[in-house]
Assembly symmetry: D2
Homo-oligomer: 348 residues x 4
Amino acid sequence: MFFASDNAGPAHPQVMQALVDANQGFAMPYGNDPIMADVRARLREIFEAPEAAIYLVATGTAANSLALATLGQPWQTVFCSPVAHIHEDECNAPEFYSGGAKLTLVGDSDKITPEALRTAIHAEETRGVHGPQRGPVSITNVTERGRVYTCAEIAALSAVAKEFGLPVHLDGARFANALVALDCTAAEMTWKAGVDAVSFGGTKNGLPGVEAVIFFDPAKAWEFELRRKRGAHLFSKHRYLSAQMLAFLTDDLWLGSARRANANAARLIDGLRAIPAASFLHEPQANMIFANLPRATHQRLHDAGAVYYIWSGTLEGDDPVEPLAARLVCDWSIGHDQIDQFLKLAAG
Amino acid sequence: MFFASDNAGPAHPQVMQALVDANQGFAMPYGNDPIMADVRARLREIFEAPEAAIYLVATGTAANSLALATLGQPWQTVFCSPVAHIHEDECNAPEFYSGGAKLTLVGDSDKITPEALRTAIHAEETRGVHGPQRGPVSITNVTERGRVYTCAEIAALSAVAKEFGLPVHLDGARFANALVALDCTAAEMTWKAGVDAVSFGGTKNGLPGVEAVIFFDPAKAWEFELRRKRGAHLFSKHRYLSAQMLAFLTDDLWLGSARRANANAARLIDGLRAIPAASFLHEPQANMIFANLPRATHQRLHDAGAVYYIWSGTLEGDDPVEPLAARLVCDWSIGHDQIDQFLKLAAG
Amino acid sequence: MFFASDNAGPAHPQVMQALVDANQGFAMPYGNDPIMADVRARLREIFEAPEAAIYLVATGTAANSLALATLGQPWQTVFCSPVAHIHEDECNAPEFYSGGAKLTLVGDSDKITPEALRTAIHAEETRGVHGPQRGPVSITNVTERGRVYTCAEIAALSAVAKEFGLPVHLDGARFANALVALDCTAAEMTWKAGVDAVSFGGTKNGLPGVEAVIFFDPAKAWEFELRRKRGAHLFSKHRYLSAQMLAFLTDDLWLGSARRANANAARLIDGLRAIPAASFLHEPQANMIFANLPRATHQRLHDAGAVYYIWSGTLEGDDPVEPLAARLVCDWSIGHDQIDQFLKLAAG
Amino acid sequence: MFFASDNAGPAHPQVMQALVDANQGFAMPYGNDPIMADVRARLREIFEAPEAAIYLVATGTAANSLALATLGQPWQTVFCSPVAHIHEDECNAPEFYSGGAKLTLVGDSDKITPEALRTAIHAEETRGVHGPQRGPVSITNVTERGRVYTCAEIAALSAVAKEFGLPVHLDGARFANALVALDCTAAEMTWKAGVDAVSFGGTKNGLPGVEAVIFFDPAKAWEFELRRKRGAHLFSKHRYLSAQMLAFLTDDLWLGSARRANANAARLIDGLRAIPAASFLHEPQANMIFANLPRATHQRLHDAGAVYYIWSGTLEGDDPVEPLAARLVCDWSIGHDQIDQFLKLAAG
């Protein structure tokens, strides 16, 4: 009963097989392997972006930090949600990679609204060289709270950014989970909605550890390559990144895995809805659920070995009915038996 | 006939099997997987260093840059060879990670001598806050020119560093190749010889992409952990790093692979010695050879599909007997048939 | 009628005379001039801190950024008010000097409360290496909104910081204005209240351009010296900084100038209180006033040549009675005639 | 008898008077003072560069570091002499301001030759993303060894830089001393010879502390302004920088002071030539002399209170005739009596 994160599950067996298959003889290093050529072609096809510059790195933090550093400048501020991964969970990596840019927290929610974004951008308006300069807008889809921006919502945010000439970055650590939730195309969720660069996640969706960075305008490609190498994120035996990503993109494995993860979450959500003492912090829309359960329920789940984060409050406490929030993340691999066992325990 | 680098060969099948075996169910992320506990224990045993702080990263540049940044300060200078990988091949990653430290090039060779080191350290002596401050000494074993520092030579360099209170870093991208060439223990080549931190290479010796960073004094462990995360080098699905490294360390695979690589090089060296037109730039000591061959020989090898770097000069040229230097690197996997075919072509 | 800022007025004539007097013959550079020895002695005396490390720089941003970089680490976050100068007016200098630290905005006011500080510190509590680490607390006295922390209020904030082992920095760009408003000693407002480092302002209080940085614990003195030089803030002809500061500290010129500035503001405040259409955004406590005046009044002042910032709203607009906020800063030099002329115009 | 540096002498009285004169009433801060407008106009006239972007900072290290950071990128290397001030005397400020660029030391002398420059640039040629990328070329005139590049020599270096598309920076800490030695125009020594940006020194030539940074192509002006503010080098009471510089440029004070300094050096040189035991390390060309004198002579000068750097060797030693090198710098203010007294002592 592991619901702590989708970053802890196994890789899909097809991916592991692709790694083994790739392990033949010599391959040119540093992204010059033939598998990478296929990855590039496939992603350009998926994104309907024949000119896109496409790179692989091994961590989501690397993808985000390098993309933002390439889009912005050290004297700028990045506009993002106060719960953005780049703000809360990357130990100042965006600040480090950008050379000291600031992050401006927009609104008070996981989803930025156009109004909040415009307000935040305006607030940086009038101080000449004194204040930070306006920089990239970064949004996350699926958000860090399990909600999904629609393509129209993304387009509305991009429109605000474009008013001010600012580039838009999409942190897509759970890109596929959002895409299948929206039932739209990768192009619609990105460049057709005004997004300039994407961190295209693989690790949370069944890869051992690969993310793609995609720039729809290849003008900054060379700068990105230099930043990646300077950041120590260029792999010599790059084929092992390429092979993961190619397997992911083959036969729509990436979409299938995301559908499985979302379906697993839906099963869990449905079960929780049937439990009177359970309630949702907000409507879950992909594979991540924030739900209140009584302390005694948490205790029971905990004792039975369920693994997940208590999001607010603490197991220690006297009141057995006090609601504590749980974050429950379903990956592609979690079994229905596990979900059902969890629900049975939760129902009490 | 691939002799371009040991960073382009396949991983050992046992390593791939370990990756597949590790791919079961959920594992705690970020280095909290149980395999990592075994890696830590095994490396402490190998290095006879029960207190050592041990971390995994995926690239050699990350290992070097993070280790040096942790050992030094932004206003210092790192003492290294003018051909050090950290100087020539990391696109300013050491400067980036250190926050702008300088590299002082010591002597004019791949192997630093104690005299040259003392001279270089003295030269930074008298300028108060004006000059860079003296920082870590970094040496590479096997060197970038295929030679090997003996344990006594390392100890002599460390002794100079210690005179001035400077820490010593060992870039061990080819650590195992040096170790088997010297027939000494890992402890003898490192902390017993005064080394404070090691980049312990796996990638060039049969892993898909893992290096360990080892600090013999764990006092800076937490700082390293923060630097690693901030540098985006902390893997969520860390088990796939751990599994590679554990397989590497199991049944001395790491030593066996290095012995094979060195033996492959020895076969190539022996063959080249028998060719009158061939000569060595210096005596090769591990798995990397720098040898002169006439232009016509290079052309013949090239036409037959041999892959390696022309180290000086260019294939284009009129004089067929002009000697051009080749860099020839043997990894663990290169077959005797390949070596022999190369030698046959080289013999003309 | 110049009320735009206390950073635009003239230097005190005694200071200019001191500069001229210092301009005799040769003086050892880089802070080794004899005047600096006197500065150091005098500031140690004023602060009752015989061990304090004391340095001069030429800008407030340099003082703040270098002090904070010395107190903290790149992977930390600095706790400050959302209107702190270090956040709003230094173009990411604190981020630059710290190597990419973050600033966490505490509360929603110019004055941080202990409760808000504790909440903000707690919020960075539980993410291991993932979130930024807790770093220095920085407060400003006089605040950016013209209010003054009492010594007890500073002590209460320091107590919270110390609970968590965090150092405390005081941005004292208007240190003297706060001190004379509080009628306490420099020691009481700083180290006796738990402050570790001070940016001791001179420029806004009648100097051409000098600030002192004071560390009560000299342990980080050498690091500061290196950071200052590396930041290009070490002056060769340092005596011209020293001479300004020594004149400032002689015969309590610094206190006298601050008293004059505060008295000028009091005269302006008193006058504004008598104007029915005027109101204060909050009670002014030193030499900086935030007051609402009707648009027509602003227009009249503007036409008469008064210079100050419209803090909210805009002169353009149809409604002549709509209140617009003004920021009015009085320096030591502004004449009573100027203030009275302003008041006469404001009264209409 | 102060010959330690031209950074320790007094400012010219006209400059001090200008400071006093500027100290009237309020002046707009941050470079918006009217005196700065005059400075800009005057420097554009002097440099025959009506479009040039012109800024003031207070230290030479700030001028150099900010100029180079604006001309280059963090992943590049700056080509400079091994004795360049930016390499030896700025505590890694160029590395800090550039975000971690490297400095490549060209040749083994204070004066770079076109051949050495081309060789050094070529050496960074072939490593793709792996090596640092080629960045700005920085030369110093007067050099750190007291020699002067002719305009033709500068043009030859610029021509090499331009072959590779690299910008050229001139560290002109002693710009005027070089100019009067060459008897050419400021335009001829800079943009007409291919220089893109100049650190135009004032401090070593009779100012308390001001340097101008001049970009002949204003395209990077805004970036420079942001970098200056972010580096904490933008002065609020900027008029005190402007006033120094305007006085410097008025009635050719800057040229007159440099002529005096060079003439002072010439007097010293002539006197030394008459002393059999004295010899020059190389032919002095401006206001800085490197000369050998016997140990006993140094001892005699030292005992009589002469202040200068022993450049090689040490006063302590048994052999009274062993030659030790002195660095002797003459500023504009040193009196003939001082020089003659020095010479008399040196003659023995």
